[in-house]
Structures are given as C-alpha cells and as structure tokens.
C-alpha cells in the first residue's frame, strides 16, 4: 500500500493506493476560503494551513482506507514544482514518516503526477501520446513515450492558462478561484460576441520549438483593454455583457490550446491526447478537445474532475511506479519551485 502526500499549492491532499490503481483513499483539504480575501494564493497562509491539516488528514485517510501505518509499504510526496513553503510541509512530514518506519520514500514531480493521473482510471492509454498539463500554475505539452519518458515540446511563455482565467475573473470582480466561475458564466454567454485574436508566436523559445508554445498574457490584456473601453462608470457592464465577455475570452483561450494540440498531434502523428490539470475540468475545453478528437480520429482522455484538480492519488500512482522499479529518493531530497519531469533526486 502506497501512502502519498501533495502540498504544492493550496490543496493539502493525502491518498492511499493499492497498486496499480486501486484507490483506497484520496482526501483533499481545499484552502480556497482562506485565499479569497486576497484574490489569489498567499504562499505563507497556504503553508500554515498545510501544517494545520496534514496530520488530521493523514489520520482520516488511514481510517477511510481501513488500514494502519503497518500496512504501508512505501511513501511518496510531491517535491516540485510549487510553492516552496507549501511543498516543504508535505515533503518533510512524508520523509520523516518513512524514516521512522524504515520505509522506502520517493519524491514525485507534480507535473508528472498530472501526466499520469489518467492511468488511475484508464488502462488503455496508448504510447506515445500527447500529454497536456493545464492548470493555474502550468501549461505544458509533452510527448509521453512511456512511464518516466517525457519530451517537453512547448509551454506557455507567460501566464499559465488557469492563471489567465483567475486574472480575468479578478479583473471583473467575479471571485476566486476564477476557473470554475468563468466556466459557469461563459455557459450563459455568446462565445463569438467579442473577437479576440490569437497570439502570434515566434519560432524561438526557451524550449527551442517555438511553434508549439502558447501565450495568454496578450489575451488577458485584450480583455482588460476591452473592459477599459466599455466599462463606463455610470453605465457598468451588464451581467449579460460580462457573460459574453468571459465566454469570448474562454473561447479564445481554448482556441489557443487547441492550436498547439492540433499542430503537435499532426506533426508527430500521435494517436491520443491526455489532458490533465485543473483547467482540464473546464467544460469548453473538454467539449472542444472531444469534438476535435472525434473529427480527427484521435483518442482523447480526461481524468475525472477529482483527478484533474491537485490531488495525492496521482502522486501515489507515480510513486508506486517508481518504487516498483526500485527507484527511491534520499533523505536529503529538497523541495524546489521548478523542475523538469522525470528527474527525481
């Protein structure tokens, strides 16, 4: 039985997995309420909250799984990328728990967790496939050739997709977190009411393959400019106009993602696309991706909603795979804010 911890941002999560994919417990303690007054995640408050809840959540997970620590054979924890103070809570707790029981320990890359979450629910995902990670902190495209074999092809050059959703929601005073709110309001609006252009990407990028990169900062600025031009003090935007605005923003954001997905799949002749991360819960993205897949005979996979958001089940899965291959981390493993997938120590 693998025990796993995730604390990279504003969700504390504990999971217990009977490998390969029998999830005995997967608990998530969200901190959204704490960060709402600040309009975004406050790293110090996130770390404090992780510290408060990690032991009770761990205890609840054991109860839910109907096991004791004696039944645990290995421990995993997210070690990167993320907020350092937040990561350190889960990582330090997990390492000492493993040390105290002389259990094997493995640090897991959060992105690698997202790339593999799909395997907890599907055993037919073909390799190679395109792995798309879209969340509040990440927007990356990988060719996944097998477990622990990833090739980064493109990423956002500025804001992550989810970050753009949050910022647009904040601009319009719609609340936090912005993703689900924009999704809900967009469903009530006309996605073609306002025409926002797609960004023009130069060929050069830090990853060397500029044509697959994406950018959301121009779109975000275009929304802000539109609001400035149309939000007159004595005539504030109507609810219908805001619905149209966020629907148009969301439509364009999805178009930006789909453009890269389409290019990569075509160029590399990939049979399947796996989309994961918090933004994978977005209904417009799911529909666009599914429709596109049917049209182009490409299989599309989305983990269920509970596996799209940050969770420890995906960390348990990746941890179990590495431990089964005899890969472990040393006690001096540290948390890092960034880091490529597949590199563990």
């Amino acid at each position: 039985m693998i025990l796993a911890f995730e604390s990279s941002c504003d969700e504390t999560a504990v999971a217990i997995l009977a490998p390969p994919r029998q999830l005995r417990a997967s608990l998530v303690a969200s901190q959204h309420e704490i960060h709402i007054p600040f309009g975004g995640v406050v790293p110090e408050l996130a770390a404090r909250r992780h510290m408060e809840v990690i032991v009770p959540l761990y205890q609840d997970a054991l109860v839910e799984a109907g096991i004791t620590l004696d039944d645990v054979t290995g421990i995993a924890a997210t070690c990167k990328p993320g907020l350092i103070g937040a990561l350190l809570v889960g990582l330090s707790f997990a390492k000492s728990l493993a040390m105290g029981r002389n259990l094997p320990f493995i640090g897991v890359n959060h992105i690698e967790g997202h790339l593999n979450a799909v395997h907890l629910e599907h055993d037919d995902v073909p390799y190679p496939h395109l792995g798309v990670v879209v969340s509040g902190g990440h927007t990356e495209f990988y060719i996944v050739k097998g477990f622990a074999d990833y090739q980064l092809l493109g990423a956002t050059r500025d804001d992550a997709a989810g970050e753009a959703f949050d910022k647009v929601a904040k601009l319009l005073n719609l609340g936090y977190p912005g993703g689900p709110i924009v999704d809900k309001r967009a469903a009530l609006g006309n996605p073609k009411a306002i025409r926002f252009s797609l960004p023009k990407m130069s060929e050069s990028s830090k990853f060397g393959i500029g044509k697959y990169d994406v950018s959301f900062s121009g779109l975000k600025t275009a929304v802000a400019l539109w609001v400035k031009q149309n939000d007159i003090t004595d005539q504030p935007l109507s609810a219908d106009t805001i619905n149209d605005l966020v629907a148009s923003f969301q439509y364009t954001a999805v178009e930006i993602l789909m453009r890269s997905v389409s290019q990569i799949v075509t160029d590399h002749n990939l049979p399947a696309v796996v989309v994961s991360g918090g933004v994978a819960a977005n209904s417009a993205l799911r529909k666009a991706m599914t429709d596109w897949g049917i049209q182009h005979n490409v299989r599309t996979y989305f983990p269920s909603m509970k596996l799209c958001v940050d969770n420890a089940a995906m960390i348990a899965y990746v941890g179990s795979q590495y431990l089964a291959r005899g890969v472990t981390s040393n006690w001096d493993l540290n948390a890092t804010a960034s880091g490529a997938v597949g590199i563990l120590t």
């Binding site: 330090s92 000492s96 040390m99 105290g100 002389n102 540290n334």
Partner: protein, 225 residues
C-alpha cells in the same frame, strides 16, 4: 531516549540523549535548506543508538518563534517521526534553545533571535540548575525596545542569538556576550529541559502541536493596516 532538533534560525541544531547525558549533538548552517540537511543529521545521530530508532521515547522540537519555513520543517519532521514511532512530542521555545548558550554565572540570560523586518524575538531567562527558565512573554520587538527591557533588569546578564549578533551596537555595553557556538553543554541543557518537561507531563500528541509564529503572515498584517 530523547531526540531534539531546532531549525528556527539558519543555525540548525540537534541533540540525542536524556537527562544530563548527551550521546551526540550536531549543528549546521543552512540559509534555505534545513529540509535537505535535517533528515540526514537525524539518520546519522540515530546510528549512535545500538537499537536504532526503536530506542526513541520522545521527540523534542524547537517550536519558534523564528523563520516560518524553518519552524514548519522542524515541526513536520517531528510529527512524522512521532507518528511513525508512536511517541509523544515535547515543545521547546526556540529562544529557550539558544538561551542554553548562556551558561555564564550571570543573574539573567537573554536570547534575541533575528525576526527580520527590523525586529527581534526576545526571551529573558534565569538559569536554574543549568536549565533556562523563561521570565517574560516572548514578543517581537524593535532592537531598541528589547535593549531597554534588558537594561531595565536588575542584575548581570548574558545575551546571545542571531538578533543580538545583528543589532549588537544597540544593546547596553554592560551585557556579557554568550557563546556563539552550540556545544555539548548547551545540548545537555536542552536535554535536561526536555527531561524536566516529560517528568512534568508536558508532552503533546502530533496533531496538537503547532508552530509558535508570534507574528501573522505579512499579507495579513498588511490587510490589518
């Protein structure tokens, strides 16, 4: 057998023993990497025990105030070990930890830890049988106010800590500088403090013990202003 550690400042410290017997102690400098250094130091220390980790009966941990991240590394590590071994925790305020560096025969000992943002955490102690006994409520103060409180004490005083090191020129010239290096005498003093706490039933279950931050997060302080 008691395992103690504190990572509230860049100076990480560890001791293993009980009562007035210190089996091993270590210290290290770590600006940002206690998480990297603490577990290997623990692992190495435990190798001194013939029966290893199974001999541990208590984990004693510096709970702060100090570096917010450092406190959480120590507390999370302590909780994990305590749960794994099913043993209780003993809390020790971090200024008390460093007050053990003041073993001189003065009337008082004071520990001033750098709290950043132009402040220090001040703990004032009387040493009783080699154990620091706290005389004030630990608070975050400007160096000037801390120096005034120290100057107002009626008796001789030894001062130590990262805050004293940083703001030494603001303290009365009459104070005696304490040791700057963690040594076996300080480790024994901490283990005696822990032993006394255990004898007085001042132990905690892992879910009960939290960092002693003293200050709110900066974002909350800004919001209050």
């Amino acid at each position: 057998m008691i395992l103690f550690f504190d990572t509230s400042t860049p100076n990480g410290i560890l001791a293993l023993g009980q009562q007035d017997r210190c089996i091993t102690f270590s210290h290290w400098k770590a600006e940002h990497s206690h998480s990297q250094l603490l577990p290997p130091y623990i692992d190495t220390a435990l190798q001194e025990l013939p029966n290893g980790i199974s001999e541990l009966t208590h984990i004693t941990v510096g709970i702060g105030p100090g570096s917010f991240t450092g406190l959480r590394v120590a507390l999370a590590t302590a909780k994990g070990l305590a749960i794994a071994r099913n043993i209780p925790l003993v809390a020790i305020p971090s200024p008390t930890v460093f007050a053990t560096l003041c073993q001189a025969t003065t009337d008082y000992a004071a520990c001033c830890l750098d709290a950043f943002r132009g402040e220090i955490y001040l703990g004032i102690y009387k040493m009783q049988s080699g154990i620091p006994v706290l005389q004030n409520d630990i608070a975050s103060l400007t160096p000037k106010v801390a120096a005034m409180q120290i100057a107002a004490l009626n008796g001789s005083i030894t001062v130590t800590g990262t805050g004293y090191d940083r703001y030494r020129d603001q303290f009365p010239s009459s104070v005696i500088p304490g040791n700057t290096h963690y040594d076996k005498a300080a480790a024994v003093s901490i283990l005696k403090f822990a032993t006394q706490s255990i004898q007085n039933n001042k132990t905690h279950q892992p879910a009960e013990l939290h960092p002693y931050y003293v200050r709110d997060a900066e974002a909350v302080e800004k919001q209050k202003r």
